[in-house]
Amino acid sequence: MPQFRMTGRGLWITALIVPPLCFVALFIVYPIISAFAYAFFDWQGLKRLDFVGLENFHTVLFVEPYRSWTLNAFKNNIIVFFALMVLQNGLGFILAYALWRELPGARFHRIAVFLPVVLSTIIVAYLFKLFYHPLFGLVNISLKSIGLSEWAQPWLGQSGTALWSIIAAQAWHMVGFPTLVFLAGMQRIPSEILDAVRMETESEWVKITKIVWPLVAPSATIVFTLLFVGAFNWFELPYIMGGLDGSPFGSTDVLGLYFYRTAFGNVSSGQQDFGLGSALAVLIFIFIAAIAAVITTRLRAREIQL
């Protein structure tokens, strides 16, 4: 019978693993499991009432007005995800390529591109709220000064532009992150492979699509997965710039805000419902976990060992 012996090395590993494991169990696993449990009960404030089975899930998915709210928030999350895929990851890839090719000023821009990432989200949110201010915001003043007065508008105050304005702020804030990950991936490509391509074509397009892009697949996996999770958990920027109600008229409402409002109530209605909120949280969690798993396995399959 094999015997487990505590050697010095085994002790070390145990000592190092157990504390963080306890931490994770207490502050991550336990809340997730309890959220699961909460979702199956009826609640009044902090007081737990009867077990209601799948009633809460049914309500948020199929009963009006929750149904429309859920769908609206979900739709906005999808818009955010695809918009950021282009504006944040797409731009990040192009920026990384430009930095990697050591265009003039690459050293300065490498820092400049990453700098906003270090800023607090709160600061970025208030900064862009000021930029978008209808009367004295930088955006409108700039438009007026170059003779485009008719383009000036209350960016955060109308349904058509509010979400996109917040998305732009998010892209500006975080574009440095995918840039950095892609740049690291590109720097792993052996320079002789690049020389080999240059012997066969001078087209940047061919180099990017046929060689660089396939070879930075590991970076793409990381960046895509994190963006997916981030886009569907999006909260801070819309909360500060659009408010807890996703104003105007729910046009900036996303699942994160909607969940918060449902579970903890908001200033105007004061209603709170842990049961519905937990049901939403569970649905969001399952959706993100399932899709992220698919994305990761799909993208992993096209990664190659360099």
């Binding site: 052996p190 002789e192 492979i193 020389d195 012997m199 074509t201 001078e202 061919v206 190659i304």
Partner: protein, 354 residues
């Protein structure tokens, strides 16, 4: 057809000049080897010919066309890299097809060329494999195949054998020589290994410190090295250089004996170059020859090399019969076999023809 002319080629990296004016003519179907120690500029020169780095000064003309500002892919030049630089995400077939397709060849032509190259390089069974599933020698052949399918005027090979183990190295060396005979293209080959240079080249270009020391056939370089650098670089074990002074018809080593060379003119002090095969050892002291002591012996089976410390502290190697064993510290006298000798100027190391 491929006729290359390098005229006054210089290369600077910022303020450091690494190539100081290279002039070289390379003819059609020639196998040219650039050889020299690390950092002599041979790989840099190859990259300038490929177009991977810009030429700082001078002119590179290929078949009558100035190539300085032509993109690497439009020069009609293919390159085999030291690390092979295969595309890791493509299989062997795709690796070879990639460049051919970019040349605008149609599908049947691409397939025909790949089939031809695969047959020549024994790659048929490997076409669907990814580079990481291949051995070093197989990757090497794919890298050559990738160059072959483009049917370039000039092949550049940058230390192609340096990542292979010793046994495989001599095998691939023979294959490259055979390949050159079969396809008959112009090949430029960079190595720091003088054995590769001697065995493969029609013409060797010996480089040192960003300059060409000598250009010639392997035989010319071995028999008439232009200076002490080439003399000691070509041939193994290396040629010993002995500082001697001329006294009538004898060459005298300070406190170490002398040898008879007959009438000669030229400077009073010079360097005498002695290769292991022109040196003979006599046991004990003798009036004719340089005195020395045996340092150690290398036994190689078919012959042996004896290293002798001369009176002036120089180490000299002599080839002896394998059964001729010398004890360490044994006193010997070094004599020189009759035949062509190498004399170099004591000042600048140039070859002297007395």
């Amino acid at each position: 057809m491929a006729q290359l002319s390098l005229r006054g080629i210089k290369k600077r990296f910022r303020d450091t000049e690494v190539l100081h004016g290279i002039d070289l003519e390379i003819g059609d179907r020639e196998f040219v080897v650039f050889v020299g120690p690390s950092g002599c500029g041979k790989s840099t020169l190859l990259r300038l010919i490929a177009g991977l780095d810009p030429i700082s000064d001078g002119e590179f003309v290929l078949n009558g066309h100035r190539m300085n500002d032509v993109a690497p892919s439009r020069r009609g030049i293919a390159m085999v890299f030291q690390s092979y630089a295969l595309y890791p995400h493509m299989d062997v077939y795709e690796n070879m097809a990639f460049g051919a397709r970019l040349m605008g060849l149609d599908k049947p032509e691409v397939e025909r060329r790949i089939a031809e190259a695969a047959q020549m390089l024994r790659l048929e069974a490997l076409l669907k494999r990814k580079p990481r599933e291949l051995s070093g020698g197989q990757r090497q052949r794919v890298a050559i195949g990738r160059a072959l399918v483009r049917k370039p005027d000039v092949f550049l090979l940058d230390e192609p054998l340096s990542n292979l183990d010793a046994a495989l190295r001599s095998e691939v060396r023979l294959e490259i020589a055979k390949l050159h005979r079969e396809i008959g293209g112009t090949m430029i080959y960079v190595t720091h290994d003088q054995v590769e240079a001697m065995t493969l080249a029609d013409k060797i270009v010996v480089m040192n410190n960003g300059r060409i020391e000598q250009v010639g056939s392997p035989r010319e370089l071995y028999e008439t090295p232009a200076n002490t650098f080439v003399a000691t670089f070509i041939g193994s074990p290396r040629m010993a250089l002995v500082d001697v002074t001329r006294d009538g018809d004898r060459l005298v080593l300070a406190n170490g004996g002398s040898i008879l060379v007959g009438n000669m003119s030229g400077p009073e002090t010079l360097k005498l170059g002695l290769r292991p095969d022109t040196v003979q050892l006599v046991r004990g002291a003798s009036a004719e020859g340089f005195a020395g002591r045996v340092e150690y012996t290398e036994y190689l089976g078919d012959n042996a090399y004896v290293y002798v410390r001369l009176a002036d502290g120089k180490l000299l190697s002599a080839r002896t019969a394998p059964n001729d064993l010398y004890a360490p510290d044994e006193a010997v006298t070094v004599t020189v076999a009759p035949g062509p000798a190498h004399y170099f100027s004591a000042e600048d190391g140039r070859r002297l023809t007395p």
